[in-house]
Amino acid sequence: MRSVYLMLPALLWASVALRAEVPSAIAIKDAHVVTVSGEDLPKATVILRDGLIQDVGANASIPPDAWVIDGAGLTVYPGFINALSTWGIPQPGPNRAVATAGNVPQQAAPATPAPNPAPRSHGPEDRPQTYSFERAADMVEPSDSRLEAVRAAGFTTSATFPNRGIVEGLGALIDLAGERGRDMVIAQPIGQQIEFRVGGGGMGRSFPSSLMGNIAYVRQLYLDLGQYKQAKETYVAHPNGNRRPEYDHDLEGLAESPRLLLPADECQQVDRILNFGRELKVPFVVYGLHEGYRRIDELKQANVPVLISLKWPERPKDADPNDIPNYRDLLMQEQAPAVPGMLAKAGVKFAFYSDGVDSAPDLKKALKKTVDAGLSRADAIRALTVNAAEIYGVGDRLGSIEKGKIANLVVTKGEAFDDKSTVEYVFVDGKEFQPSKEQQQPPQGGERRGTNPADEGDANGGVN
């Protein structure tokens, strides 16, 4: 039972659009329901109770105790899942904690420990930049300031991973709301993320500085893991005469992970990472994929799920206007948003991840861009919902609107991602949120319609 009685001052009522009370049952009546797992229902009702979907259908009967939301003109989708992010782990910086229902805002106390500068590593044996034992599930807090903003884009769930080092830690699938951190966890561990840390020229730095150093390091880790497992098994069977294997929490963390997340953006990186994943003999997922359009067949053959970054490549804002970018970069700018559509046609399972895109309008724009580039809206929704859930092994309980599944939903007015559409409601674990319209608008002065050059450098910043 999740009914919690909250006391909120009237001020918060105005500025934080939360419901003060959580009804035990909700019915969204006569809406267009995109179930994803089954048919699109042009006019149906969804019943939520106790955080689960109790019923869905054109003829679903509304329980008498249910709070009824009129779904006319609204569309219900499963809540969007961000397939890889740090959402939920408050990031270090200026006070990022905000008041949310149920907790007193903590003063500048981020859940991620301030990263201690790691001691300089002198080789793989120092396990440089390894945080494989860190768990997102231990680090998530509802106070992360981004949650409200991304809910306004229709996201209810995130595959959240810690974010430091090369072996970054065990991720957790989390709800993007909750009273306490641990309430947010849907499933964990869902995987281990690898990120290559390259640069610095190597002089006077910590191992590894080069890409090949990173690769060798991960390779050595997995060799160590293999040996560790073998050593443990051998020791259990034949303890006498053998030195006991040391407890190794890095390797324990690795061993616990059901899959590995490996990065690849450019086409030769895709080749490299597919080979590497196969070499490591672990189930793996590839994330990035901006130049994926050059490797559609290979990805299909590899039969590996992929996560596509929503941070579409763009001409850097800071560029020298006299400098012409390479054709390859231009092509990436043009083609990257078309990759999801191509993957859909080829039958490759993919999901999306935010890659640092953290505001509702930006997320919407990014999703619209790929729909405009050839991904069908239905496939886009699939990627954001059931695909992500299946990739992380929770497709049986999340990611579609079906009886018995977790009640994570997004209700829009207008079709998802359309410029004029808005997110009206978001349900996280059955709890209702009404994202503010301000959060869904681009920031003031960002996208004005006027083309008057006199607007340039207008010190007032905006009277239009």
Binding site: G199, G200, G201, D318, D320, N322, D323, I324, N326, Y327
Partner: protein
């Protein structure tokens, strides 16, 4: 004539023959002469008196007291010129103590490369062994050097030096031949090793700002120099002199050209506009692209000292042979070109840089001119150097073939009429270690 008088006359004549060799004259016979500014002469001879070319032709009379050099059918070319080096000022590039380039400060017109020329630098012998008799030595290491940031605009006076001489005084041909300048640019093209040295990446806006500031300061500096020149001309002996600004006077007066390094099309255009505005003479140095500047340079009569032909294209999408066709492109646009290497270690390879341009479109004669007469003209010494002509300084090389080919051997060399050894550190190592049992 009476016999005794005849005898005296004969004695006098023979005496003058004995003592008449005080002019160190040399006759080089039996060579194919490549004058550059005139058609080739087979079976030719050249007479050198007092370090100058006195006569060229197929029949040169015997001259008593002159040393005769039998050319054995070899080729005779003018000594080659490298129009941009740091020879004499840098010994080992990675050892700062052995390098005298890139003085601190933005405007250093008073610095003179000439006086820092180390006559014992091993690079002198090494460079001339490839047929090069004169080089311009610049006090700055150039826009593309890995040293330092975008600090210097004017590095100082570049000197035209013979690759020979007991002292720099003796080696100097034209002590202040050019004023070395790097035209301000927006530093977005990454410098070599910038990432390696972990230089911070600045925003484009910031780079633009820095560039504008440097440009403004440059304009101001020229303005100061102009004012100084005017004031000094109008003043008496009490005038308070300023070494720096005074060094700019020949530039202001159009006597000393600025050797302006400008890599990209945009910079070249700006440099030309700058020169127009400041009313100074410029030479464009080490451009990496021509863009649409060919016509502009021709119209303004601005020549170019090319940097290395053996280079990589600037951008991934550039044609693979962009640096190879560049000299030819400038030539076809009507721009006068000559070759330089803007370094020390490979200064000797300037003939090969020219040859590569020939492979990709520059006519061979033009390439040769770019190592001889064009360089001389651009540097304002064409009355002395750059071709085998009567009255010019006898800088000559004898080769067994085309000096722009690696398989050619440079056999003999004369600088200002004196034969110089083609031995160097490199040949001495060869001799010594071949003998190791």
């Amino acid at each position: 004539m009476e016999f005794p008088k005849l005898f005296l006359v004969a004695l006098a004549l023979s005496g003058s023959a004995l003592f008449g060799a005080a002019d160190n004259s040399v006759v080089i016979r039996n060579v194919t002469i490549h004058p550059i500014t005139a058609p080739d002469i087979s079976n030719g001879s050249v007479l050198v008196i007092d370090g100058k070319i006195a006569e060229i032709g197929t029949r040169i009379g015997a001259r008593s007291g002159a040393r005769t050099v039998d050319g054995h059918g070899l080729q005779l070319y003018p000594g080659l010129i490298n129009a941009a080096t740091n020879v004499g000022l840098e010994e080992i590039s990675s050892l700062r103590d052995s390098v005298d380039l890139d003085e601190i400060g933005m405007f250093n017109p008073e610095l003179r490369a000439e006086i820092a020329w180390n006559p014992s630098s091993q690079h002198i012998e090494v460079t001339r062994a490839s047929g090069i008799t004169t080089v311009i030595s610049l006090p700055g290491s150039g826009a593309r050097s890995f040293r330092g940031g975008p600090g210097t605009v004017i590095s100082g006076q570049g000197a035209l030096m013979h690759l020979e001489g007991w002292t720099w005084e003796q080696a100097a041909v034209k002590p202040s031949a050019v004023m070395d300048m790097i035209f301000p640019q927006v530093e977005t093209v990454p410098r070599r090793f910038a990432a390696f040295l972990a230089q911070p990446a600045l925003s484009y806006q910031e780079l633009q700002r820095q560039y504008r500031e440097r440009l403004r300061q440059t304009g101001e500096f020229f303005e100061d120099a102009r004012r100084y020149e005017k004031a000094k001309a109008a003043s008496g002996p009490d005038f308070r002199r300023d070494v720096r600004l005074e060094a700019m006077t020949p530039v202001i007066q159009g006597k000393t050209p600025l050797l302006v390094q400008a890599e990209r099309e945009q910079m070249i255009k700006e440099a030309v506009a700058f020169a127009d505005k400041e009313k100074v003479k410029i030479i464009i140095a080490d451009p990496r692209e021509i863009g649409s500047t060919g016509a502009l340079l021709k119209q303004h009569n601005i020549p170019v000292v090319l940097g290395k032909t053996f280079d990589l294209p600037m951008r991934d999408d550039d044609p693979y042979d962009a640096p190879y066709t560049l000299p030819g492109d400038f030539y076809k646009a009507g721009v006068k070109i000559c070759f330089g290497t803007f370094d020390v270690e490979f200064a000797r390879n300037v003939p090969f840089e020219a040859a590569q341009a020939v492979a990709f479109g520059l006519p061979r004669e033009e390439a040769l001119k770019g190592l001889t007469i064009n360089s001389a003209e651009i540097l304002g010494v064409s009355d002395q150097l750059g071709s085998i002509e009567k009255g010019k300084v006898a800088d000559l090389i004898l080769t067994d073939g085309d000096p722009m080919q690696a398989k050619t051997n440079i056999k003999q060399m004369f600088i200002a009429g004196r034969e110089v050894s083609l031995e160097s550190r490199h040949t001495r190592e060869y001799e010594k270690w071949m003998k190791r049992p």
